[in-house]
C-alpha cells in the first residue's frame, strides 16, 4: 500500500488510494472516476502500438475492463497509472500479434537499436510555437511522422515524451531496462526530427513542403 507520508504529501494520491480501497470493497461503479484522469493515456498507449484508431479504441477499453477485473491484484508498489498502462501495453501487443500486424512494421524497426544514429538533416530549426498545433495539418504531419517509427521507438516516445512518464515508469510500463528507454528515446527523437525537418524545420531553408507564405503556423 501507499505510505502514509506520501499520501499526506499528495492529496490526489490520497483520493486515488481511497478510490482503489472502495472499489476493492465492491464499489465497482467508482472505477470510472479512478481511470478518468488516465483514459487519454490509455488510448494513446494502445494507439502507439496498434496505429489504428478502431483497434486502439477497442483495446483501450478492454484494458480498462481488465484492470477493473484484476484491481485486487494491484498492490500499490507501482503507481496505479503505470499499472494501468502496463495492462494496456500487454493487451495491445497481444492484439498486434494476433492480427500479425508485426509483419507490417516499418523497416526502421529492424534497425540495430544500439548502433549510433547520425542526424541526417542539419536544417536550422527556429522555435515552432505550440499554437501551430491548432492546425489540423500540423497535428496530422506529426502523427504521420510518429507512425513511421518502429514500434519499439514509438512505444517509448509516446510514454515518455507525450505522456510525460518518468524514465523509470516508462521502463516499468514496457518491461524494459531504463538504459533501453534512454537509447530508444534518443533514436526516436532524432528520427522524428529528421522526418519532420523537410516540412517543419526546413520550411525556410528552400526545400519545404509548404510554399512560401503558407507555413503551418
Amino acid at each position: 500500500m501507499l505510505g502514509e507520508a506520501s499520501l499526506l504529501e499528495n492529496p490526489d494520491q490520497l483520493n486515488e488510494a481511497t478510490l482503489i480501497g472502495r472499489i476493492r470493497d465492491g464499489e465497482n461503479e467508482l472505477f470510472y472516476e479512478l481511470v478518468r484522469p488516465y483514459e487519454r493515456r490509455v488510448y494513446a498507449a494502445a494507439f502507439a502500438i496498434l496505429r489504428n484508431e478502431a483497434d486502439a479504441d477497442d483495446v483501450a477499453q478492454e484494458a480498462v475492463l481488465k484492470a477493473l477485473k484484476h484491481i485486487r491484484q494491484f498492490r500499490g508498489e507501482a503507481k496505479f497509472s503505470t499499472w494501468l498502462l502496463q495492462i494496456t501495453v500487454n493487451e495491445a501487443r497481444m492484439r498486434r500479434r494476433k492480427d500479425h500486424s508485426d509483419l507490417m512494421e516499418p523497416i526502421v524497426d529492424r534497425q540495430e537499436e544500439d548502433g549510433s544514429y547520425t542526424p541526417r538533416d542539419f536544417a536550422d530549426w527556429r522555435e515552432i510555437p505550440s499554437e501551430s498545433l491548432e492546425r489540423t495539418e500540423v497535428r496530422q504531419m506529426l502523427a504521420e511522422a510518429l507512425a513511421q517509427l518502429g514500434q519499439i521507438y514509438r512505444e517509448v516516445f509516446v510514454l515518455r515524451d507525450m505522456q510525460h512518464l518518468s524514465i523509470e515508469d516508462t521502463a516499468n510500463a514496457l518491461g524494459i531496462s531504463t538504459a533501453s528507454v534512454k537509447t530508444r528515446l534518443l533514436r526516436a527523437r532524432l528520427m522524428l526530427r529528421d522526418l519532420l525537418a523537410p516540412g517543419l524545420g526546413g520550411a525556410w531553408s528552400g526545400k519545404a513542403s509548404f510554399a512560401k507564405g503558407s507555413k503551418p503556423w
Binding site: Q13, S116, T118, W125, R126, S130, R139, D161, L196
Partner: protein
C-alpha cells in the same frame, strides 16, 4: 573535456532531460556554442519534444469516454448490494466528488494560461521559480525548456500559480500528479 559532434548527438537526449554529469554538460555547452550543426540538432530535437508533448497531440476518438463509461457500466451492473451498502456507496460518492471539487478549486486557477495544465500537487509555495513574460509555464532555474530567455523574472511558485502560470512537466515533473 572536449567532446566531438558524435558524442554530442549520442548524449543530446540525456542533455535535454537533464540526465548527464555536470562536467559533460559544460563540455557539451562549449561545443554547442561553436557548432552550428549540433545547435541545429539540439533545437530541432527540443522542438520535437515540445510539440509532441502538448496535450493536443493526445486526442481520443469522439465518444471514447462515453463508450468506456457504458462498457464499465455494463460490467458493474448486477453487483448485488444491501441497502446499507448503497448508503455507504452514495456517501462515498459524495465524498469523492466533493474531494475532487475541493481539489480542483484548491489546486487550479480559473484564469490559467494553459487549458492543458496538470495538477501541481506539492510544489513548495515558497520555491523560487522562473517565468517568461510571453510564456505559460514556470520552471526551476536552469531548465533547458525555457524558450524566451530575454524577459525572465523570478518569483515564488505560489505567486506564479496565482498569475496563471502552470508547472513545466520537465523540470517540475516530480510534483505533477
Amino acid at each position: 573535456m572536449v567532446v566531438s559532434c558524435e558524442e554530442v548527438w549520442a548524449e543530446i537526449s540525456n542533455y535535454l532531460d537533464g540526465e548527464i554529469e555536470p562536467s559533460l554538460r559544460v563540455a557539451m555547452e562549449e561545443h554547442l556554442r561553436g557548432c552550428k550543426h549540433c545547435s541545429a540538432v539540439l533545437d530541432g530535437t527540443r522542438n520535437v519534444i515540445n510539440l509532441y508533448g502538448d496535450e493536443r497531440m493526445l486526442e481520443v476518438p469522439l465518444g471514447f469516454s462515453r463508450r468506456l463509461q457504458r462498457r464499465l457500466g455494463d460490467n458493474t451492473q448486477g453487483t448485488r448490494r444491501t441497502f446499507l451498502g448503497w448508503m455507504v456507496a452514495a456517501a462515498a460518492a459524495v465524498l469523492v466528488v466533493g474531494g475532487f471539487e475541493v481539489g480542483k478549486s484548491a489546486g487550479s486557477n480559473p484564469n490559467m494560461r494553459s487549458e492543458h495544465a496538470e495538477t501541481a500537487a506539492g510544489i513548495p509555495p515558497e520555491m523560487t521559480v522562473i517565468v517568461s513574460q510571453s510564456g505559460k509555464v514556470f520552471h526551476v532555474a536552469g531548465c533547458t525548456f525555457i524558450h524566451d530567455k530575454t524577459r525572465l523574472r523570478a518569483l515564488p511558485a505560489s505567486e506564479a500559480m496565482r498569475e496563471g502560470y502552470v508547472p513545466c512537466v520537465r523540470c517540475l515533473g516530480q510534483y505533477l500528479s
